[in-house]
């Protein structure tokens, strides 16, 4: 707990610097990454991240310096080379994009590892810290470097703000962008360049191996909550920044932990939770909707069963037992109770004081007539418009009756000319 306060009071200027630096890096990378995500190029981003390693190593070998601008220069060159190679290989040979990506990713990374181990074994210059590019170690970034990275991140965000509309069009509708006279080639070049730069920045905090997460995961999480690109980018940036905060906190408390994996853990948890809980596209929302459907279906079926019972007695008999209902139509135990509960809640049935008897209320009768009406007019539609034989229509109508909205009902009735009877000669019950 002491460490918690030591960290979050931000009294240590070093902690302050590193934390806000990491957050800012996470924010800008995630924001730029959302374009890669939308263009379905996130795995290319993964390849570029791996491919940056030999660039960094070569730059160090050549200049014998860890100057951030020099390292970024090397990163930019090899990242670009990787991207161009992927496109060239998949355009100019029978190899498919996934093969080209996997190939470039692993071979460039292999070259990087070879160079890195070469540097370590030969002990050239002050090489300590180069291996932090593998898994990231935010706390190890020194002040001057952080300023340099901050400036680059700031420039990236500025470019995005400036060209937001153009990039948006390029991502969603490249053909239209071309047709409307935008300089698509140059825009693509700018977008690719800032993507490579953003990736090179991101590896400062998460490292090359897990960089894909910083491109993809914030966007995947944000996408679950919104349809709007601007909102999605802001959200993704926020998620990236928050994860950066968590990562540097853990790095602060447990110095032998690499920062990257923890940032990724945090990102992944947010993404998985978003995919599960989001009200629009989430798995949970879907399950709830399916449950709602199920309740609607079984309760309407129960209403129908009650209506049929009434119909069979020429509407003389109005009280029925559970046994009567189950004889009319079979329900599973669970379904039956769900349906009864729902009908009682809506006051569609009234329990009669004699035990286990039910009566449809006025409202219930109206509702039951609606469902039976929908069933029967849909059967009319199936025979009249879809040329189905009368003995083939029932199973379909059994489902569709539950989904027809009042608006569609109106349209159906109009198209069919308010028929009196269904194809089985049963009367269609209209609104009283």
């Amino acid at each position: 707990m002491d460490k918690f306060f030591a960290f979050f009071s931000f009294t240590d200027p070093n902690v302050r610097l590193v934390t806000f630096g990491t957050m800012f890096l996470g924010l800008s990378t995630a924001a730029v990454g959302s374009f890669a995500f939308l263009r379905k190029r996130s795995l290319i981003g993964d390849a570029i991240a791996h491919a940056i390693l030999p660039g960094i190593a070569l730059s160090f070998l050549f200049f014998q310096s860890k100057n951030p601008f020099l390292l970024m220069g090397g990163a930019l060159v090899s990242g670009w080379l990787a991207m161009v190679s992927i496109e060239y290989i998949s355009n100019k040979s029978k190899l498919k994009p996934d093969t080209a990506i996997g190939l470039v990713l692993s071979v460039f990374f292999g070259v990087g590892i070879l160079l890195l181990t070469h540097i370590q074994h030969t002990g050239i210059g002050n090489q300590a810290g180069l291996d932090q590019f593998l898994f990231g170690k935010a706390a190890a970034i020194v002040k001057q470097d952080l300023y340099a990275y901050g400036i680059i991140a700031f420039l990236l965000l500025a470019v995005i703000l400036l060209l937001f509309k153009e990039f948006k069009l390029l991502s969603f509708n490249p053909d239209f962008a071309q047709a409307s006279g935008l300089p698509v080639q140059s825009l693509r070049f700018v977008l690719s360049t800032i993507t490579v730069l953003a990736i090179a920045l991101g590896i400062q905090s998460v490292g090359v191996v897990l960089m894909a997460a910083l491109i993809i995961t914030p966007s995947a999480a944000a996408r679950a909550w919104t349809e709007r690109l601007s909102v999605m980018m802001l959200l993704a940036g926020g998620i990236g920044a928050f994860s950066g905060l968590v990562g540097s906190y853990i790095s602060f408390t447990a110095p032998n932990m690499p920062t990257g994996p923890w940032i990724v853990m945090c990102l992944s948890c947010i993404a998985l939770a978003s995919l599960f809980f989001s009200p629009r596209r989430g798995v949970l929302a879907k399950l709830l909707q399916q449950r709602k459907n199920r309740i609607k279906i079984v309760s309407e079926n129960l209403l129908k069963a009650l209506y049929h019972l009434q119909e069979q007695s020429d509407f003389q008999n109005r009280h029925f037992t559970e046994g009567d209902i189950l004889e009319q139509r079979s329900f599973s135990q669970g379904d039956f109770h769900t349906a009864l509960k729902k009908l009682k809640k809506e006051f569609w049935i009234m329990p009669i004081t004699e035990k286990n008897r039910f009566q449809l209320s006025e409202k219930g009768v109206e509702e039951a007539r609606r469902v039976v009406r929908l069933h029967r007019i849909w059967e009319m539609y199936l025979t009249e418009r879809m040329r189905l034989k009368a003995d083939h229509i029932h199973p379909n109508a059994e489902t569709i009756e539950h989904i027809i909205t009042p608006e569609i009902e109106e349209q159906l009735l109009e198209e069919l000319g308010y028929p009196k009877k269904d194809p089985h000669e049963s009367p269609i019950p209209y609104k009283a």
Binding site: S42, T99, G102, F109, I113, T117, A213, M257, L272
Partner: protein, 299 residues
């Protein structure tokens, strides 16, 4: 060449051939990135098995890791189909998450476990000659990883040889295979299991990411050079051995990681083959332009 070098090159060669043969079908199935995902995702499985059993290779660990690999493909499918996340993002989210868990586990128990981040990244093939298999009576049978990689190679050759028809048809035209009554799902998961086993066994020698280089580069090189599957598989074997040999000498020369050097060598062979096919294509195009309507390709 010393005996130690021979051990290393042989082990590397067996692993490279195993990865290459599996990889050939991986790239034909357009699943190279799924292979990449599996190679990352087995890490938490390996780390957990290490923590629990404390030993490296036993059959349970192998099967467990293979299961993790297959589960990874299921998880990716779930994210894609149920959570409606686009496919490339499903792959990316899944493997980075699982890999992060693996690295965290390793970092947390780094004192208890003979496995570190470097091993994860580029393996320990240089230590092959040190890991000897000794019987109870002290007889020295040579390096243990050599046997393990030979066993892996045997398994894969058997699978590819016996399953050749099933693998081919379910790769080329899965719909047609299903129409013939062949279960493509079974072949898919069987194959994914094989990819996982290959990854787990190779992991120790060459690390998570360079496994992918061995799976993709040699078969991709072979695929550029031929249009026949059997020839492609033989060429893959050739390039895989060349990768092991070339990589070893490159590593010795530069004093760097053997696994990294193998990936570099594999990339070099690919670049050469690619340049060769491009040159061939352009020299074939020139005379064609001169005699515009050459009737050689009639129906």
């Amino acid at each position: 060449m010393s005996l130690e070098s021979l051990y290393i090159v042989l082990t590397a060669g067996f692993i490279a051939v195993s990865c290459g043969l599996v990889g050939a079908f991986l790239i034909l199935r357009k699943m190279a990135m799924l292979g990449d995902a599996i190679s990352h995702a087995v890490l938490p499985g390996i780390a957990l098995a290490f923590l629990i059993s404390g030993s490296r290779d036993n059959l349970i660990m192998l099967l467990g890791a293979a299961l993790v690999g297959v589960l990874t493909t299921v998880l990716i499918e779930l994210l894609h189909k149920k959570a409606r996340l686009q496919e490339d993002a499903s792959i990316g989210v899944t493997f980075t998450w699982l890999f992060a868990i693996g690295v965290i586990l390793i970092s947390a128990y780094t004192d208890n476990v003979d496995l570190d981040q470097e091993c994860v990244l580029y393996g320990e093939i240089a230590y092959v000659p040190l890991d000897l298999w000794q019987l109870a009576n002290g007889t020295n049978l040579g390096p243990r990883p050599l046997y393990v990689s030979a066993g892996l190679l045997l398994l894969i050759v058997l699978f590819v040889w016996r399953g050749y028809k099933g693998l081919t048809i379910s790769t080329f035209n899965p719909d047609y295979a299903t129409a013939l009554g062949i279960s493509t799902a079974l072949w898919h998961f069987g194959f994914m299991g094989l990819v996982s086993v290959t990854t787990v066994v190779s992991f120790e020698s060459v690390g998570a990411i360079l496994v992918v280089a061995l799976m993709v580069a040699p078969p991709a090189t072979a695929y550029l050079l031929t249009g026949k599957l059997k020839k492609m598989l033989w060429l893959t074997v050739l390039f895989a051995f060349a990768t092991a040999g070339g990589g070893y000498f490159l590593a010795v020369w530069l004093d760097g990681s053997i696994a990294g050097a193998m990936a570099t060598a594999a990339g070099l062979y690919f670049a050469l083959a690619f340049a060769y096919t491009r040159l061939q294509a352009s020299s074939r195009n020139k005379p064609l332009k001169a005699t515009a309507a050459s009737p050689t390709h009639g129906a």
